[in-house]
Amino acid sequence: MLTDLFANIDAGDLWEATYETFYMTILALIGTCIFGILLGLLLFLTTKDGIWQNKYINFIVAALVNVFRAIPFIILILLLFPFTDFLIGTIRGPNAALPALIIGSAPFYGRLVEIALKEVDKGVVEAAKAMGAKTGTIIFRVLLPESMPALVSGLTVTAIALIGYTAMAGVIGAGGLGNYAYYFGFQRRDFDVVFVCTIFIVVIVFIFQFIGDFITNKLDKR
């Protein structure tokens, strides 16, 4: 019965596509996390009355972040083709999607990081200064730990956006469930494939959301 209903689905292909989606999402998430936190810290620290107050750096970083957030993701991939080709040596497959995925989502996460850092009680930073803490200590022992729940919940939101991006990247050849749904489902008019891919993506989103919420709650001691 069930096999009749989903006659066009090849378990091996589906598994492969699911794996690729996870692969792209997780690697891109790691890159996004690193660059996003760097961008967020830079925005936060160089702001007016910040620890490294600097109008020019703040302006440049904010401008870059805003420009990259303004570009629709599908266009960003096309725009980055030469860069990807140079960096990865190919423009097809999961690895080729990573630069675009990271560049597309790091500025978004960077803004979330900045917001999270702004929420840290200024009094606590001041207390650390009064104890004679260096800037590095303030960043790594005060700002980041104190904003950790917000950083994680921001990362969850970013991860879910990333899953969406991987599907878009799939349509132009990056692999993953998006790719599978488009080439094996939509183009062959096998809508059962599209349907199953949808379900898989929704389940992946739920998994990320669940893990993210769980960690956030565990970390939040407020």
């Binding site: 606590v124 001041e126 207390a127 650390a128 200064k129 009064a130 104890m131 260096k134 950790m148």
Partner: protein, 343 residues
């Protein structure tokens, strides 16, 4: 211990200049609990924050323990700050760390090894009376307990000076008293100099030796707590003294007293320190054949002894009453004023 010369801070916001601390000169002795009182906006917080340069002075000098804070470079300033403890109105604890780890934080900053850190943290937890709550998070503590963590944290690197900005203002009266007792306790045990900012005169009364009254960035009056209580010169100071003593609608009261108690003398006793004077009334009654009836008054305790005024009615033979009054004048520091002689 601390000497401050011509200290100023001018804020510039929207091209408006605001002098928050105005050419302030002050000396604070070793081991003293020095109170600074003033209304909101007087510049008290700005003043303490200038002492450890959380706020950069516009002018003037701060010398703490022979070290000129105002001339240190940023690296030396960080080291100097490790020896200046600070506690805050809103505690400013790291919510992501337990009590233990909050107290260990300044030790981490000072680069103390883990084993030594743990031992020191335990000492501090015992000192501030938080044993058993080591592993609690700040959100699981009451305000008073949070301030105890704040105090333990401030003392971790064995500072010589403790700065307290409105340390009890977020606490209820009972908790305030407990925290103030703790501050006196560490002041005595550790010989620490404490600078305490407040807008509540009873805090000054309870624990300070010296008080400075601030208004519009200037110190308008300064001296021994008892002197200031006894002879407040400035209108602001009088208002603060009234916070504790109640307002002096004495003249009306006096008329009422005199018309109600027609017998004997009515005497005003002015207590100005010395705890031994507290037994005065019973001594008088034992030594001389006089009856003493307490009519009205208010006595408050400062660290230098009792301070306040008492109105009493004295009755008996004229000779005995005069002897009793002579005794008070000669043998005690209580000031006597006969308001109405026996008729």
């Amino acid at each position: 211990m601390i000497s401050i010369e011509g200290l100023s801070k001018i804020f510039t916001a929207d091209k408006q200049k605001l002098t928050a601390v105005d050419n302030l000169t002050l000396d604070i002795k070793d081991g003293e609990i020095f109170g600074v009182i003033g209304y909101s906006g007087a510049g008290k917080s700005t003043f303490v924050r200038l002492l450890n340069r959380l706020e950069e002075p516009t002018g003037g000098r701060v010398v703490i323990d022979k070290q000129e804070i105002t001339s240190l470079n940023s690296r030396k300033l960080r080291l100097a700050r490790q020896e200046i403890g600070m506690i805050f109105q809103h505690f400013n604890l790291l919510w992501s760390r337990t009590v233990k780890d909050n107290i260990a934080f300044p030790l981490e900053i000072a680069g103390i090894a883990k084993a030594e850190r743990e031992q020191r943290v335990q000492e501090l937890i015992d000192l501030v009376g938080l044993s058993g709550r080591e592993n609690a998070y700040p959100s699981q503590l009451s305000g008073g307990q949070k301030q105890r963590v704040g105090i333990a944290r401030a003392l971790a690197n064995r500072p010589k000076v403790l700065l307290c900005d409105e340390a009890t203002s977020a606490l209820d009266p009972e908790t305030t008293n407990a925290i103030l007792d703790l501050l006196v306790d560490i002041n005595q045990k550790l010989g620490l100099t404490i600078i305490l900012i407040t807008h509540e005169m009873h805090v000054i009364r309870k624990i300070c030796n010296q008080v400075a009254v601030m208004e519009k960035g200037k110190i308008v009056e300064q001296g021994d707590v008892l002197d200031v209580f006894l002879r407040p010169k400035q209108p602001v100071t009088r208002k603060f003294v009234q916070q504790v003593m109640g307002s002096s609608e004495e003249d009306d009261d006096l008329q009422l007293l005199m018309s109600t108690y027609k017998q004997g003398k009515i005497v005003r006793l002015h207590f100005i320190g010395e705890t031994t004077n507290q037994a005065l009334i019973s001594q008088l009654a034992k030594k001389y054949a006089v009856d003493i009836n307490i009519l009205q008054g208010k006595i408050t305790q400062t660290r230098a002894g009792a301070y306040g005024t008492l109105f009493v009615q004295m009755d008996g033979k004229a000779e005995e009453m005069n002897k009793a009054i002579q005794y008070i004048t000669d043998e005690t520091s209580v000031e006597v004023e006969v308001i109405r002689d026996a008729n």
